[in-house]
Amino acid sequence: MTLKTENSSDSPITVTLTRRGFVKMGGALFVSLSIPAGLSLHAAEGPTSLDPSVLASWLEIHSDNTILARTGRTETGTGMSAYYAQTIAEELCVRPETISLVLGDTDRTPDGGPSAGFLDGMANVRKVAAYTHQALLGLAATQLGVPVSKLTVADAIVSGGGKSISYGQLVQGQQLDLKIPVTGMRAKVDPSSPEGNGLAGLDGFTVTGDPPTKPVSQYKVIGTSYPMPGIPDKITGKTQWTCDVTLPGMLHARMVRPATLGSTLISVGALDKKQYPTAQVVTKGNLVAVLSPNEWEAIGAANSVAATTKWTEWAGLPGSDNLTKAIRDYKWGAPSQSKGNPAEVNAVLQGARKTMSATYELPYVRHAPIGPFLAVADVRSDGSVIVWTHSAQLQGLRAQIANTLSISTDKVVVRWLDHSGQYGRTTFGGDGAEADAVILSQLTGKPVRVQWTLQEDLAWSSVSPAYVLDLKAALDPNGHVIAFRSASYTPHQSDARLLGAILAGMPCCLPRPGSWVATESPFSAWAYDKIPTRLEEAYGMPNLAAESASGGLRGNIMRTPGQRQQNFAVEGLMNEAAASAGADPIQFRINHITDQRLIDILNATAKAAGWEPRPSPHPRARKSGSASVTGRGLCIVVRNNAYWVGIAEIAVTPSTGAVQVTKFAIGVDCGKIINPRQLDRCMKSGVVMGLSEALKEEVTFDKSKVTSTNWTRYKILTMEETPEIKVVQISRDDKGFGGGSEAANALGPPAVAAAFFDATGVHARRIPLTPAYVTTLLKAQSRTP
């Protein structure tokens, strides 16, 4: 049977259903990738499967009416495993409960792709399911003797002409194959990759063609609050997490890291074999580890060895107190990326009667998972490698491991299991304990489990880089912004190298420093389209201390990367401009935008927050005194076809610098809402992460090492500090799907800064708003008349 559909270039795409054979028991329809011509699975990129001739199927319809779906993308905690099941169920007209998912594993899933790229992953599985639906309708039409146009499907039963047959009955006794057309490539290490992370093919395969899909108006499953499938097992202790993997003969490893971020090894400390009889020390380059079959013995022995291990002295960091100066002192060349019209913007700025300018600063912050990263690896005598991880980019990680060990990607299998959230840290396939584990397994000939400590994770993992941003705007006599210019300066933020490989001196991918205009990108539309002219420039520099043996403070993306930081400054200046114009901050924004979706969500969120229009600061604003003073502030973010609004209400105690967020309203229009309940919890939790960044988070370092290495030094928001959160959702049937989780964390910092100005009359142009910073800021402002 052949199905033909049309793609955008009008060339027919052929999907072929063939019968592989008959079986006595069961039966199934296997839906697999039809690899594009010219892409050999035997090429250096390597195949997905252990057996290069067999690709794992994407979808299977079984004779018992159950469905198995596989995707290389994983569940990161935001409910995507529910959404994938809902999407497949919708197109196939089945209940989502009948679908089970295999996630991540490079040998058991066909497609690759980043877990954070949910919308692309969803578009893929929708097409897979739609092609499969068409194939099943074709089978049913033959079986029932009823044309496809007369068939309907409900709950996996195809009906027409007074007859019906289930999907299971359609495949009973047969092995059917359906090949799905795809484009794309395998992930591989590639220094010339346009993203600058040193890897190519991280998006995996994309399904081509346009099979008929169900109209949104007929949706029955999408738009309902189907629960996240993995939750019951997590609640009862049945889930097998990455940290629960045990293998016969496995050694537990603890790493002994250099004394400073740039030290190199002089001599390894002594191991007391009487006290630690089963422990052994393994070194390669600057990679030092202590291993034992007994985890507690490995911990004790590692601490003992670390105490007498000698490292060179090193002091190549500027210190976090001098961070802005260090960034300012860098010899910046041309911007990495520029959007807008420089000549026009500069002409308007020069000719304007009124301009305003401000500098905004954000410190280094980090992903800071509750569970420090770990990995288990088994490098076998036949040269094959298997790694267990919770990475969100399994194929990219696989390519990196093969590159580090200088072996074919064919030899590497990476399996996914749950573990602590990572918030973008592994989106490029890097920055976990995987390299440590494979190197130690290769050196010992045994399976090795590497568990990083919290101190290690908070000192040695990659970081979300600091930003310094210079903004300038020209205003007309009515206070309307007529030109807008921003320049952002930031260290590297795409360094996905694996720490273990760097320290061991083994091959790594080669990221290139750079930055991008995140407020106006494929992910985000520029919101203020009634500003007549604008210029946005993004300048990138290498990691701080990039030349050191560890690569320095390795900058990496973190949830809402680039846009989170750049939007803090854009929204800061828009709030300052609104104040300068004496305008209500919401009305001021509406005056600068045309998109009705943004206006609608602004109004809806304002209503939920009980917003009374007036300019900031509040007439009772105060910057001194021991009684608390309240304020409210607003910001927007537009990202990934989603329109976000955040409104913070805060209480500031000027004398102590304490800032408490008392209420937060968050609104989103992300097109058609897939799952209101999961969206609700993603929005609320995003608020928590954003407020944590606004109020508390900062990676601190002296001239040689990171100093914020436990939870009393790298502070994150607690339950008591979490405000009452109101959620507003607008679902639209005619606007496609949008990113409903990611950008929720970008609202906290600008909304809190705006509320701080409302309460005190003082602009807070840096975060976090710690008591120390707030008291310093208010005292300085109190001295100025």
């Binding site: 990161t76 905690g77 935001t78 629960p227 996240m228 993995g230 939750i231 019951p232 997590k234 609640i235 009862t236 202790g237 889930t239 097998q240 997490w241 940290c243 629960d244 045990t246 007994n294 985890e295 507690w296 800071a368 998972p369 509750i370 569970g371 420090p372 749950d418 573990h419 602590s420 959230g421 918030y423 568990q451 400590t453 919290l454 309940r677 999961q678 919890r681 993603c682 609320k684 939790s685 995003g686 608020v687 928590v688 992460m689 944590s692 436990n710 939870w711 009393t712 994150i716 928001l717 607690t718 339950m719 008591e720 500090e721 979490t722 959160i725």
Partner: protein
């Protein structure tokens, strides 16, 4: 063996062999394969490893195994049996029940990554045993200010936890 000790874990006697200073967490996970409690900070700063010791929450990452001898250790794997005993459920009913805290955690869809949630549920069980009807402020206080440290969640599920504790409180009074 010199290092053999008998523990009472989730209602069962368990003989384990471990040095007396070994943290309870590693014995539960590596010897008894009870993987509900997980290693977070390793220094009692986060709560991911929490278990109940005679009904009191302790951080298993810093609690020496010698301290647990003679006390009842409860992990999330043992919570259904705790509830079944409190309610005097039959063996058949006990086998298919969940502790109301666990059911509330499912009903409120609390976990995101879920790494911290075993400890969060243990803290909730202890809280409701002492205060069957806590206010929002009391829940926040218990999860934040009770020594040795706040219970931390990086995914940001605090609002869902508060709602789940209140839901469980209602269920346990019914």
């Amino acid at each position: 063996m010199a290092n053999e000790r008998t523990l009472s874990v989730n209602g069962a006697k368990q003989v384990v062999s471990a040095a007396p200073e070994t943290p309870l967490l590693f014995v539960l996970r590596n010897e008894l394969k009870l993987t509900g409690p997980r290693l977070g900070c390793g220094m009692a700063q986060c709560g991911a490893c929490s278990v109940l010791l005679d009904g009191e929450e302790v951080r298993a990452c810093i609690t020496p195994i010698s301290y647990a001898v003679g006390k009842q250790v409860t992990t999330i794997e043992g919570l259904p049996a705790v509830w079944a005993a409190e309610e005097s459920l039959s063996a058949a009913d006990a086998a298919k029940t969940l502790h109301p805290i666990q059911q509330a955690w499912i009903d409120e869809q609390v976990p995101q990554c879920g790494y911290c949630q075993s400890g969060m549920m243990i803290a909730a069980v202890e809280l409701l045993a002492k205060n069957p009807n806590p206010s929002v402020a009391q829940i926040k206080d218990a999860f934040t200010n009770k020594p040795p440290s706040p219970h931390l969640c990086r995914c940001g599920t605090y609002s869902a936890i508060i709602e789940a504790v209140q839901r469980a409180a209602k269920a346990m009074k019914a």
